[in-house]
Symmetry: D2
Subunit: 332 residues, 4 copies
């Protein structure tokens, strides 16, 4: 008997959609069946590369041969598409975030109540091989009891101000990944949040009322502490490090250099810079994430990260903003 | 014409006093002239090793051939000895801290008003060669405008509970070094402080009402942020890292391994652990610190760190405790 | 106008053939058209995965819609297939080596005289991203005049003795890659070769009269020196390092760890082992190598490595054996 | 009962003599008693710094209160001073080499026959903490059976041609350290030697008939192989690495950076260069070497390296030259 091959409809044929398309095609148990995108040109191009068809959203959702949808469209469409996908009986893989508004997220999770086990929210960094191995060893007791988590997360450079304007603010757009990472590593819910933030890299960001440099500290009921430091700009590349400190030692991930070349000259011993672009840096994590989603489709595991994980990360972002505004440590 | 040789009286012949004795003797412009210690045996032993004499405190302070005193006695004696040394016309090198009580520190600084340029407070870590080089490059603009400072500072292991009892609490005893480091790297005074802390490593510490795991975040008026993370226990050694992130890049110090040996086997690629004990890890910093103090004696530079630096670090410790107690970000 | 898509016939559907199939499919300008393999089952399976057809060798060579053949079959078939492919007017991508016998290699190169620009010999390691970047910088003068090349090349573990028996001996089977690497980095032909070798890892290898541990030193007419060290067994993984030392400094490639995870405990600071298996370690090099071959197909570059490169590497292997046998430095 | 303090006469108050003087003084069981140097000024200066006296060679040798002499004078005086020191009943610590001429070395060892246990030949690199730990682990079986040793040894830069002229040639002057290192790590005598060498860094060296770039390969009777690569110039610092490969893994020493500072910018991730000057790079090894000599004085251990070790290293240098001249692998 052969394994079932899952037919996938991809909603959104942009940059991240193309990454998912390649991983769907490369997986022996999934097939890119349909591409949906209002921009017909890019939809057609992507579909042709993988022998898929182009359909309307309605067709894709009503078609009985589609097992799952991948939501890779604009953030503002996510919540609605989740609800429609679940209603149509599909499994749903949704790019983060569910929505920038916590009330909308709550409404969506309410709307799909009882069907949560079909919603996977794509916090891809959990699937980075180094992070996954860190978590595996942590859970195996390699460093004893966890005490302190550090997440360093710096973007490689200034984003276009038009992006900033619709981003929902740094905590909801960028730190959201780090909130998920902190929760993932902590293995416990934070109950206290305090934050300090500044706008230092670009006056245009300040003009939008947004921040670009921050530290957020979380504490769980048992006393575990997680510290997130962020900047919108690390001139040398994508600075992405996670560190878990426990009673028996530390596990930490270092940045991934472009190659393992070392240059030794009078001006120093120079290694290659970290991979710069998130699609390059996290390429493996997207492939691993897709493998996990196929396991969800096969019913082998419950979806993780789940919709609830998406909601909890956003709640931490809300709390961090509240701490900035009130000058208080926020209790959750 | 030959350079003047400075005669030094060392007050306190214990562990740290012995480190200073060796550095005093090794410097071509300083001579260990006198050792003062209530425990006559260890005073005599140390004095003999360096051809110094053993004297009473009174003799040492009143003797005209002593140029400077080094205060390496118990913390509770520091403030008094500073005042007496300055009154006696000596230059004073004082181990951190000036005192555990901010009012006592204020009183001492008041008492020596006008003579501050004879008081050097020994925050030795500023003189660690890697830290000093980091600071030099930072000041030279190598990473542009400073935005974010990270200080990781973890002790190699549990301290005796009797030490904890008289330590003044982790922020005043251990984090004090990190507050000084943050101020040193920031080059600006913090105006906001927020902290979260736990007691995770030892119930005996909890019983004393002390903490052992913490994160403190500082922010300056211009928006620079500094994050300190502490633990009383890093099982693998003394975890001491400083990171400065600026508009053009990052400067960071890594832990110092025992040797540069690498072992590659089926069980992994293993390097040596960081140097474990602070006297070993910071040996070079103590020697460099002494060289700086000799420059102070020669009148080439003003004392830095100064008494005021000692006071400011303690104020940050006070603010951190206040943040813990009130659940607020404290404004300074 | 759209670019021409090259139709490729893959000869050999085994382990390395499968790697090439994936890279052929992933390249926008090449298409896996045909798979040829005497074992019909694996041929069919591979063909289906990429929408290719299964054909006989004769059909593939006589078919006018095939632009190039990829020879990934047993070593003993390479020379014959090169000759037939070139005669049939195809471009030829041939796995190393051309043949284990230098006279056979000479005969083949003679047979295809005038058509050499259609033969590409797949020394994949030249295309490893770190090696390629090393070479690019070397050629750009980053380390001045090249003086000394070091190639460390150790297999991760004992090979089956049945493989050893038909391997042609370590210098022809394994060191052949390092001879090519040395020539590639040196940019000059070696004129002197000296070697010492032992059999230390496995008595079965000794029984076959083969070696498993060796050092070969090469020298060019201008005095540049290259040193190759080999072992059939590095228990910790695939040990593959290249170092170029010049008048202005050094460029060197370090092993590629599985992930960038670091574990710090009382038992040391442990990183992940180097990637173990050559298909994993050199995955990127195979993809880059295929891109280069497509450039050859497009007529943008001459094939490099060429058939002559294959011959020269084998000549160095012959000289190394001669040095072992005679106890002399061999002049070329 | 207190330990005996050994009185030391230092012959030669130059650069390396000053290093030994400091280590003698710092050791609790040795005392710098006498300095002998034809240049009275530097003798007096050094003696004063350590409370020693200045004497003539004859006085020092005939004085009953001198336990050991340290020969740190010009190479050409070593053999004679060893003979005179041993005859005078002193223990002798002699800087490498015993002599540049193998016949002179043989004569000296003949002359002191029966007294070899009072002669220590100072191949300091054995005492480098990383090398010593490598050897300790190797002997403890951490990497199983030793198979392959690699010694990379490159001077930080061109030496004055006047030094080259009297150096005895690179193999006798510089590689001599690496021959000793290879023997030390191998733990077996090499029985075969092959070498290739060039002169690439400086035409003046060529004019003297000397070499500056070389590879020497050694093989023991059991088949262990050691490879030495040398250059007189590594523009980035003192390149000193040792690697031992065995059946269970590898132990290797990396270069020692000035500090553990890392700079990450758009132009790369740059660490500090290796320590440049041998006195700085090997400072710890000189101190450890002295501790070993004191153990020899106490009769706890036999001298190692011994006079015979000095002779064997020179024999390997002779063999390497012979290999260059004859184009043969030399059997020992």
């Amino acid at each position: 008997m052969t394994d079932k091959i899952y037919n996938i409809a991809l909603l959104g044929a942009g940059r991240i959609g193309q990454v998912h398309a390649a991983n769907i095609a490369a997986h022996p148990l999934s097939r890119l069946s349909t591409v949906v995108d209002p921009q017909e040109g890019i939809a057609r191009q992507l579909a042709e590369a993988y022998g898929a068809s182009v359909r309307s959203l309605e067709d894709a959702l009503s078609s009985s041969d589609i097992d799952a949808i991948v939501i890779a469209s604009a953030t503002s469409t996510h919540a609605d598409l989740i609800e429609r996908g679940i209603r149509a009986g599909k499994a749903v893989f949704c790019e983060k975030p569910v929505d920038l508004s916590i009330s909308r997220v709550n409404a969506t999770l309410e709307a799909i109540k009882g069907q949560e086990n079909r919603l996977f929210v794509a916090f891809n960094r959990r699937f980075d091989p180094a992070v996954a191995e860190l978590k595996r060893r942590l859970d195996a007791g390699v460093i004893g009891d966890l005490e302190l988590v550090t997440v360093v997360s710096k973007d490689p450079g200034a984003l276009p101000i038009d992006y900033i304007k619709v981003s929902g603010g740094m905590f909801r757009d960028m730190t959201i990944h780090d909130f998920d990472m902190a929760r993932f590593i902590l293995g416990e819910e934070p109950v206290r949040v305090t934050a300090l933030a500044s706008t230092l890299t670009d006056p245009a960001i300040k003009a939008e009322g947004d921040i670009d440099t921050a530290s957020v500290t979380l504490q769980t009921a048992s006393g575990k502490i997680a510290v997130i430091t962020n900047s919108r700009r690390a001139s040398f590349g994508y600075d992405q490090r996670v560190e878990a400190h426990g009673s028996l030692g530390t596990l930490r991930t270092e940045n991934v250099p472009k190659t393992m070349l070392v240059q030794e000259r009078e001006d120093g011993v120079t290694r290659e810079k970290p991979l710069f672009f998130f699609l390059e840096r996290y390429a493996e994590s997207y492939a691993e994430e897709w493998k996990e989603f196929v396991r969800v489709l096969k019913g082998e595991v419950a979806p993780a990260p789940s919709g609830e994980d998406g909601r909890k990360a956003l709640l931490l972002a809300e709390a961090a903003y509240q701490s900035l505004e009130t000058g208080r440590t926020i209790a959750l």
